[in-house]
């Protein structure tokens, strides 16, 4: 394959990814862009059928009155993120969620669950001080994405499905983005899509961990591309673990998938390998403590056990009675049964599982990045959640900021023109993508497993400097070996093994940054827990990490958090407001 084989394609607005961020960007760009603007949506899978927004179970956080306020939602977000969030971004998130939920109901056609009086039903996730989470049963993501997907499919945007973005191609002077290099996965051919504005919404996805929840298409491609393009990334050490991922062995893709949070809320018990309940040893709230606390409890318990046959702990629901379990969690019971487990009467083995990536590209509140023409929204963008994302704030974030990106691009595009790509970067990105095709074919999977084990062991739920350094060495090793693993190039059409290779390359690149940023943060905040630095390092002096590629190496620095809305120890809630509006369980 030669550089000249790259097909060239132009559009006005290009959107990468079709999660909440990508689909909302497409809709909003259509609403604000001048008549005749060409909008293209490119995605690694099928439109609306990949990514994590579709997998959202619990719901969507939005303050809709009944005592709850945007201020309260904001304070919960800041407290939850342990004062690391970018406060302007968090504020905009909470404020705009109110608009976005009305848009979802009134314009997009979602139909969320109602109270008997006809108002939206809202519930409280752990870490929230009000009943705030709007939902559709426990399949909220399907409702949101299906409705958005229909709208976008019917809107006539240009579709580039199963197009994988492999490189951001800047202009010669590097100040602006010229286009994105992609592989048309169905044919294996390359396509350079130039656009005046590009929104990246590829959704992060910490799938470099042995146990992980995100969909298979998410492999940190966006952040790896941003890194190579020289963009600053923040909070890269912040990986959220969900406490109860299914543990079903190495040989199944089911391993790591989420067993719903509600199981613990309803009284599900966690049982150690020794047959004991243990969560009360770690926290007064027991199994009902927040995700990070329970994840650490389980991890600590797992370390005590050296029986290789039984790695995780168990969740047991049977004491609630079979009828109750079946009635309250029909979806979970069926899912477990399909995979051969009995959630009703038996205990099911679980393990903490990497769920969400708080870190991401540094953006302003309009989703603009340091590179003209590039906008980033959703899980790819850093800042809104700080060190911990509240359950329900993820989909709020992707839909709110995806919409904002669409609005902003629609307005910006009029003043922009197509730019000439830097052909040397293009050549380098092309060479990088076809590199494995020039080597002797070998298996990719064992290396992926190796990276996943390493990240789980050394850069996982509980971290130490020594561990993360070991992790870094291991990542370097995997990266090196990967460069000797080739892919059979006899047929590049829908060649998943080639994409497995490219996935692993993105994961290695970002894993390294996670470990580096983790070493940099010598304190424990939210999802980042250092056994060697267990305290929070002083909230008033909060800093966040920023990583960027300088030459061939990644440099991590600390930057102070600007408390632009509220200072530690203070609140923006009116005086006399109760601490929580949620009735104790």
């Amino acid at each position: 394959m030669k550089l000249s084989d790259i097909e060239r394609h132009d559009t006005d607005i290009l959107i990468l990814g079709t999660g909440g961020a990508g689909l909302f960007a497409a809709l909003h760009a259509q609403q604000t862009a001048p008549e005749g603007t060409k909008i293209t949506i490119a995605v690694k899978g099928l439109i609306g059928k990949c990514g994590c927004t579709r997998m959202v179970q619990g719901g969507y956080n939005v303050a809709l009155g009944g005592g709850d306020t945007v201020e309260r939602h904001f304070m919960d977000t800041i407290e939850g993120g342990k004062w690391l969030p970018d406060q302007d971004m968090a504020w905009r998130l909470c404020e705009q969620a109110v608009v976005r939920i009305r848009e979802l109901e009134n314009e997009v056609g979602c139909y969320f669950d109602r109270n008997p009086d006809g108002s939206l039903h809202q519930k409280a996730f752990a870490g929230q001080t009000a009943d705030r989470t709007v939902h559709k049963g426990d399949l909220t993501g399907i409702e949101i994405i299906n409705r958005l997907m229909e709208k976008v499919l019917a809107s006539g945007v240009e579709k580039l499905q199963e197009h994988r973005a492999v490189g951001l191609i800047p202009t010669k002077d590097g100040s602006a983005l010229a286009g994105v290099l992609m592989i048309d996965m169905r044919t294996g051919k390359f396509r350079l899509v130039r656009a005046k504005c590009v929104m990246m919404g590829t959704g992060g996805g910490p799938t470099m961990y042995k146990y992980h929840t995100p969909s298979g298409d998410k492999t940190m491609d966006g952040l790896a591309m941003a890194l190579r393009a020289g963009l600053p990334l923040r909070d890269m050490e912040m990986v959220q673990f969900h406490p109860t991922g299914l543990l079903a062995g190495d040989h199944t893709r089911m391993t790591g998938t989420v067993l719903e949070e509600g199981l613990r809320g309803a009284g599900g018990q966690l049982i150690s390998h020794a047959g004991q309940r243990f969560m009360f040893d770690y926290d007064g709230k027991g199994e009902r403590a927040t995700r990070d606390v329970v994840s650490r409890g389980i991890y600590a318990e797992m370390r005590k056990n050296n029986n290789p046959e039984q790695e995780g702990v168990f969740i047991s629901m049977s004491h609630l009675g079979p009828d109750t379990v079946r009635a309250r969690f029909p979806g979970m019971v069926k899912r477990c049964a399909d995979s051969g487990f009995d959630l009703v009467a038996d205990k099911v083995e679980v393990v903490p599982t990497a769920h969400y990536f708080m870190g991401g590209v540094v953006v302003d509140i309009d989703t603009r990045t340091a590179m003209e023409g590039l906008y980033v929204a959703g899980e790819d963008a850093g800042g809104a959640h700080g060190s911990n994302r509240l359950g329900g704030n993820g989909v709020a974030n992707s839909t709110v900021y995806g919409g904002i990106a669409g609005d902003v691009m629609g307005r910006d595009v009029a003043g922009m023109s197509l730019r000439e790509p830097d052909e040397t970067v293009l050549e380098a990105e092309f060479a990088r993508a076809i590199y494995p095709l020039t080597r002797t074919p070998d298996l990719v999977l064992p290396l992926r497993k190796k990276l996943q084990d390493l990240m789980w062991e050394e850069v996982g739920v509980i971290r130490t400097e020594a561990g993360m350094k070991r992790g870094l060495r291991g990542i370097a090793e995997v990266s090196d070996v990967l460069m000797d693993v080739g892919v059979d190039d006899s047929n590049l059409a829908f060649n998943l093994t080639w994409h497995d290779w490219l996935n692993l390359r993105s994961l290695c690149d970002v894993s390294k940054v996670i470990a580096q940023a983790g070493i940099m943060r010598e304190n424990s905040r939210g999802a980042h827990y250092r056994e060697d630095f267990p305290d929070d390092g002083g909230i008033e002096n909060s800093e966040f990490t920023v990583a960027r590629m300088v030459g061939e190496t990644v440099e991590v620095t600390n930057e102070p958090v600007v408390f632009s809305v509220v200072k530690p120890g203070e609140t923006i809630l009116p005086e006399g407001e109760p601490e929580t509006l949620v009735a104790a369980q």
Binding site: G109, S119, L139, L153, H251, T257, S339, D500
Partner: protein, 237 residues
């Protein structure tokens, strides 16, 4: 545990049927079997999946002649002895091996007016729809559809009649017809009464039988037939 071997036959289109010996493990889904082949035996094998928990609807294939979501189908459920045959989903063009082009399915979804029609905006309050809105009861009918196309693959009418919109798209149309917030009634009735409309359905019920989410497109389509018949008499067409 791994002493047993599964005889897996995969339909690879032009390359014909190919046999693979796949080690059996506990907790193995059909998707895991297919993945094993690609990851260990034949790196050129193509298939599609994303969520791996039955939410995205992108992993459906024909398994022993039955359309199934492979990520949620335990292999023990489909083994015939220790053999299983896997092919691409029926009624859709094959891209390569086990990956099909789902565009026709979604084009029909849109053609059935399977998209919200409303005049309300983000500046309006959210509609109050509760127990006092019995007409909304059908608005939840089939909403959990994951557009996996299994019903579409199961339906013989789709196989014989390329214009037929198919069960999932029509179910969405019925869903919208019952949604008090939707204002597209006329457009929907029009869309489902055309040459590819609901009247082509023979109520053979394979859609309802094979839907992995236990949805019931057949009844939704019967609903559309009733509504269009009513409008037939009303408008005297």
């Amino acid at each position: 545990m791994t002493s047993e071997t599964l005889n897996v036959t995969i339909d690879r289109g032009a390359a014909g049927l190919q046999d693979y010996a796949v080690p059996a493990y506990d907790n193995q889904t059909v998707l895991d079997v297919v993945s094993w082949v690609q990851q260990n035996a034949d790196p050129t094998l193509s298939y599609r999946f994303a969520c791996r928990v039955g939410m995205c609807g992108s992993c459906a294939m024909m398994v022993n002649g039955v359309p199934r979501w492979t990520c949620r189908t335990h292999i023990s459920k489909v083994l015939d002895g220790n053999a299983v045959t896997i092919g691409p989903l029926r009624n859709l063009p094959v891209i390569k091996d086990l990956a099909v082009d789902m565009d026709p399915f979604f084009d029909k979804w849109v053609a059935a007016e399977g998209v919200h029609h409303g005049a309300m905006t983000r500046d309006d309050p959210i509609a109050s729809l509760g127990d006092d809105h019995p007409e909304q009861s059908g608005a939840d009918f089939g909403r959990e559809c994951i557009n996996c196309s299994i019903c579409y693959a199961a339906c013989d009418t789709v196989a014989g009649n390329p214009n037929y919109l198919g069960p999932a798209a029509l179910q969405r149309a019925w869903n919208l017809l019952n949604d008090a917030k939707d204002e597209g009634r006329m457009a929907i009735l029009e869309a489902v009464s055309g040459t590819g409309g609901c009247h082509n359905c023979h109520s053979m019920g394979s859609c309802t039988t094979y839907c992995p989410n236990e949805l019931d497109p057949m009844s939704a389509i019967a609903g559309l037939k009733r509504e269009t018949a009513k409008s037939f008499f009303k408008r005297g067409r």
